[in-house]
Chain length 314, copies 2
């Protein structure tokens, strides 16, 4: 089978042996697979994948048709449309996915949308609801909102009754975020639109002092990205006075059972919204798997809105 | 009535009008009232009390006998032994306490123990269980464990099945903490005894980087004190890799309904342990209310283990 392969800081499309589905896994014939920031970190030699995932095969999310079932797999049947997250090797023609982290791909969704859904929506859902308990009436600030996770978070929050300020530098992408129901704002302006119950931080440490100052009593900050730097200055007196909470997480390193729990929550909370198109997967661009190098370049160029997705024709 | 009064950076015992219990309050004839760090901050002109509390009358916890009932107060009867927290003016002969934040004082408890119980045990319980979800099997680090909150936290954690490392500089107090069921350790040694599921930080910002490094995956840090400085450096990459959470809080600033909820939890979780003497209130020293100035000096001198409590003879 063909697969994205990393070697010497570059990504190419190579021939590799197809995976054999193990107990509880399904083999998926991939039709689309999203690119995420972690893939580019892996290409650069950072962010080594968790044990069990190949170090030279990137890809954390995919969608396709169930090709065959591994031993004891019972949730799906061959031919089912599925999507889901994997710990690596997701950008390939065939991928083994544990059935407990796979979910049905809604009928109305294109392959590119389905392939770019799972990682970002699971990450956003986990941060907003599991970590921060976002609810109706809450005011949310999403810093650095134009990427895949940010766009997912903005929509999930709007759909669940929160008021959302989405900060991003580019005026064009501010408008796109406003069209999703958020108040698109420049970063400096956004902090002044508080106080917020929840801040989703996708930029990094330099924002931390202003995140804290912008919190309402009982506010929560979830850290998802540190592109602008990992170190932040935390004033514990502000933390105490706000009775606030800061959390951070990554999805990829979690054990299978935690990923399966997250997938069940997404299935329950998000798939109905997705089927009703109350949330959408904005696809910035698609590239065929053979052009994976160009796709990664497009991802790292920035100025995108939503997902860049690799596609594989049947 | 006599009461502790703050003026010009000093605390003295003065005559003041007795409070009149309002709706839902009981008037308590105080027999003992603990001193807390916040009282000393208030004496120094910092930490202004929340609105509604007098700015010149310190005191956050007390125990005594119900003297009379305000309108619509139904939980207690005159003569009941009660203890509880107030937003201020607790170091006085008569104090109005809302019945929902008062709780019965167990029969076996001395007045000094009861008067030094509520603030520190409520703070410790809230941080350990409500904020950090401490449970059996968890490993807990308490940094700066010899004060009232630290001693309460160590005991509550031991009684609930956690393994506890308690750090403090003084070797003598390390031994006292070990006698409560913790592993007493010097600060530098304590960090090396991780990983920990929960860290209770009573020292301040300078400890934050080592707190984070000492956490197990899914670990939680609760910040209670910042005596050594409020500013800490937070590495968000460590926060994310540990899937960790940091929270801070103060009890005093909370609205009545939150204090009442916290009191109900303490009543349910802690009073049975206190009645069985599985947790105790170590009283370092008592002073009569007239000697409040000396009591505050003894508090600020440090090197104490447990509470300093003002007493009022009947």
């Amino acid at each position: 089978m063909r697969a994205a392969v990393i070697a010497g800081g570059a990504v190419t499309c190579e021939e590799r042996p197809a995976p054999v589905p193990q107990g509880g896994e399904v083999l998926v014939r991939v039709r689309a697979a999203g690119i995420n920031g972690a893939d580019l970190l892996q290409r650069a030699g950072h962010y080594p994948p968790p044990s069990g995932a190949p170090s030279d095969m990137p890809g954390l999310e995919l969608a396709g048709l169930v090709e065959s079932l591994g031993p004891a797999a019972t949730r799906f049947r061959p031919g089912d449309r599925v999507m889901g997250i994997v710990a690596g090797a997701g950008q390939a023609e065939l991928v083994a996915v544990h059935e407990r982290v796979a979910m049905p791909a809604p009928a109305g969704l294109s392959w590119a949308e389905a392939g770019g859904f799972a990682e970002v929506f699971t990450t956003a859902h986990d941060a907003l609801f599991t970590q921060c308990g976002l609810g109706p009436g809450d005011r949310l600030l999403v810093n650095g909102a134009a990427g895949g996770v940010g766009v997912a978070a903005v929509q999930l929050a709007v759909a669940s009754g929160a008021t959302v300020v989405a900060s991003v530098r580019s005026p064009g992408r501010r408008e796109a975020l406003s069209s999703l129901g958020a108040h698109g704002a420049a970063p400096d302006e956004a902090f002044g639109l508080g106080p917020f119950d929840v801040v989703l931080e996708l930029v990094g440490g330099p924002n931390l002092p202003r995140d804290m100052e912008a919190l309402r009593t009982g506010g929560r900050v979830a850290v998802i990205g540190v592109g602008a730097g990992a170190i932040g200055e935390l004033d514990l007196r502000v933390l105490m006075a706000r009775r606030a909470r800061i959390s951070g997480s990554t999805l990829r390193a979690r054990p299978l059972e935690e990923k399966a729990l997250a997938a069940r929550l997404v299935e329950h909370d998000v798939l109905p919204l997705l089927s009703a198109r109350r949330v959408v997967v904005p696809v910035h661009a698609t590239f065929p798997l053979e052009d994976v190098a160009a796709a990664y370049e497009a991802f790292s160029a920035g100025e995108k809105f939503g997902k860049i997705v690799l596609t594989i024709d049947s």
